[in-house]
Structures are given as C-alpha cells and as structure tokens.
Symmetry: C3
Subunit: 173 residues, 3 copies
Amino acid sequence: MMDFLRAYKNYDPAAKSYAEIFFLYPGPRAILCHRVAHVLYSAKFYFLARVVAEFSRWITGIEIHPGARLGRRLVIDHGLGLVIGETAEVGDDCILFHGVTLGGSKFDPVKRHPTVGNHVLIGTGAKVLGPLTIGDGAKIAANAVVVKDVPAGATVLGPLGVLKEQAPQEARS
Amino acid sequence: MMDFLRAYKNYDPAAKSYAEIFFLYPGPRAILCHRVAHVLYSAKFYFLARVVAEFSRWITGIEIHPGARLGRRLVIDHGLGLVIGETAEVGDDCILFHGVTLGGSKFDPVKRHPTVGNHVLIGTGAKVLGPLTIGDGAKIAANAVVVKDVPAGATVLGPLGVLKEQAPQEARS
Amino acid sequence: MMDFLRAYKNYDPAAKSYAEIFFLYPGPRAILCHRVAHVLYSAKFYFLARVVAEFSRWITGIEIHPGARLGRRLVIDHGLGLVIGETAEVGDDCILFHGVTLGGSKFDPVKRHPTVGNHVLIGTGAKVLGPLTIGDGAKIAANAVVVKDVPAGATVLGPLGVLKEQAPQEARS
C-alpha cells in the first residue's frame, strides 16, 4: 500500500503530502474501487461489480471495466475521461493520463482490448484500440491513435499541431 | 423502450443483462434525461430544461444541450466528455463514443452544429465542428477532426500515431 | 462580477439568461471555486486548497490545480476533461474548450506548465504541454498537440480527418 502511494509521490512534483494523495487524488481512489470490483467480477457477481465501477466512475470520472487486469504501482494522473475495457491488461509501473482509452475496435467477445506491458507511459488523449500489444517501456504521445502492436522501448509520436503560414504568398514566390 | 435496450445489448459484448444496461450504463440514463429536457425546451422552459441537462451531465459526464435532436436507438458508449450542441441533429441507429463533440465552429445563432445521418459511427475523441452534414452510414475514426461534409458511406481516417525511428542515423547514411 | 457573466453571455448564443449562466454553467462555477482554492494555496493551506479543487472537479468535471493563475473574463466552455496544471498561467479574455490540457511534459518541479497570453482561443481536445508560451491572440485548433512556443496572433492547425479513398484501384490505374 505504501508502495503504491510512494509511486505517486515520486511521480508527481505537485503532490505535497501522502494524505493529499490518499484522500484527494482521483487516481488511487479509482484503482482501489477497481480492486474491489475485479474481485466481485472474478466471483461472477457481475451486477455488483458494475455497481462499484459505476460508483467509482461517478466519483472520479475514470471508467475501468471490472474485468480489466491492472498491474502494480499503476499511476493514473488526473484521469478524467480515462476508459479501460473489459479484456484490457496493464502491466506494472505504468503511467496513464486523463483521456486515454484502452478500447476495442471490433466486436469480438473474447479478447478485444489491448495488452500493455510494464513501465509504459500513455499520454493524455491517446487512444489504443484493439487486441494489440504495447511492449515494455514504450511511450505513447498525447492524442496519438494506436491500432497496431508497439515494440518494447518504442516511442509513438502523435499529431503535432502545425503553424498556419502567416504569409502563404511568400511560399509561392 | 425494449427496442432501445436491445440496441445496447446487441451492440455491447461486455453487457451481461438488461438490468445492468438499464440501471448502470450512463448512456441510456443520459438519453432518457435528454428526452425530458428536450420536451421542456420545446415548451420554452429553457431554465428548467437546462436544470435537467446539467443534472444529467453531473450524473453521467455526458453533456447534451436540451435543444439537440437525437434519433432512435442511439447508442452512447462510455460517454464521458461527450458534448452535443444546441442545434445538432443525430439520425437513427447511430453509435457515439466518449469524448466525441458535435460542436460549433462559428458564432452563428441559427444553425451552427452538425447534422448526422442514420447508422453513423463516430469514434472516441472525434470532433465534428460546424453546420456540416455527415451522410448515412459514415464512419469517423477516433480523434479525427471533421470540419467539412462527409458523404454517405464514407470513412474518415484520424491521426494515427507513428513510430519514432529508433536509429535515425541509418536513415541519413 | 457582472463583467464576468457578460463575457459568457456575449460569447454563447445558446445562453438564454444570466441566471442560467450563473446557476447552471459549469465553467463559471469551476472558476469561482478556483478563486477560493488559489487564495488558500497562496496562504500555503495546500490540503484545504486541494479539497476545494477536488470538490469543484467532482461537480464540474473541470480540474484546475489550485496553484494555477487564471486571468480575467476567462470563458471555459463545456469544460469536461479540462486540466490546468499547477504552474500554468492564463491571460485575460481567453476561451478554453472542454478536453483542453495545459499540462507538463517533463518533471521539472519549478515551472513545467504553459504560459498563455491574452485573447487566446484553445479548441476542444487540444493539449498544450511543457513550459512554453502561447502569444496574445493565438488560436489553437481542436485536438492539436502543442509542444513549442506559439507566436502572437498565430493559428495552430490540428489533425484534420481525411476521407479514405472509396476506390483505391482507380488511383493505381
């Protein structure tokens, strides 16, 4: 447990105390709720599991399906709009930002969500869709859309904004 | 009504029962609230309509302006961060994901939001902006930004992430 | 105060009355909460400041760190999923949409978030990351990712969706 709080404290320079993290951060709260929901889900109490998950979503703005498997020391930063699907798996020591989706792209009932390795960082707004694999240590940039496997250690670049040319006539001459 | 729940059940392989959908899914709840808000809005009870919409937003994380017109059997999946503007229109049998915006791009008070046809799928994080038309059966990919008309049956691709080259020196040699 | 409400009224053609804006819009509520949180933060009541910010996040879906400095007549539209970091600064008369992030990209404890000038518009889903500067009057398009300084008056274009070719065989012939 302290292990888990320490992961947050090390990670976030804006965190002033453990109490702040424990009582006021939405990420740890969502993960604790998910641990409960996942136990219920594994025992096939699907409805009850979903009640817990839905309560957590209302409190935190983070939506994790009770069936998802999350590794240790996961840091969810800000978290609003994060969606993790039923058959998604996330390794240890990952960092997920708000607006990330680990979602499905086809309607295959068996395995339709991503498998994420250890030490992976996924930037805000990135969407990882389908039963693909993100290798250990990979980094995915903000707002990137990923629909293929990502090798270990790789960096996926997202859509950087480009300056509209101020004087297009110069470009022509 | 059953029609509406059936649309969800057929669509979502993670749904275990109708009870789960009815009581625990944010999408159906937001749409039911919107039906009430829209009736109030049409009767020019603007303030009251907005009270209902704001309550729904707080409960579901889905923001639908009371003035928007939504078709039948609409599926809103996950829904957090979805925004539908006042003059938007959505046809029948559409699927909208979380983080989608049907918004305005100019400040024209009359019609400033999109008109979406039937059987349209709009992926998570996509922004459809302005008084444009999305044709029947079109699909819009995750995180895509759409500011022009989309013909019926078309697919709009979004910004796929690209792998940063691991060894840029090889590219130069 | 009226100044502030007037900014909203002028901006939003869907707003029917001042009462609607004051009682029912999430943007003004989040900004009022932030004013309180920022006073507490400046007096080094970090825990209490964070309580106010977290309450505001739960009520509005807008997450503004108590340390952030916001200018006058700021309009936050819709707001769900908006994140503003601890060392971010925003000038006067700006408009920020839902899903915008003014975030950090490195773990520098001193200044790691953006400085935004006056009269800046940042479109929905745009992510502005790092201790960069956005010049006065700049406009940033929906879903754009910005990691470099933006000069005053500039427009940053985002990732527009592209139509998938309907008949690729024609392109080959």
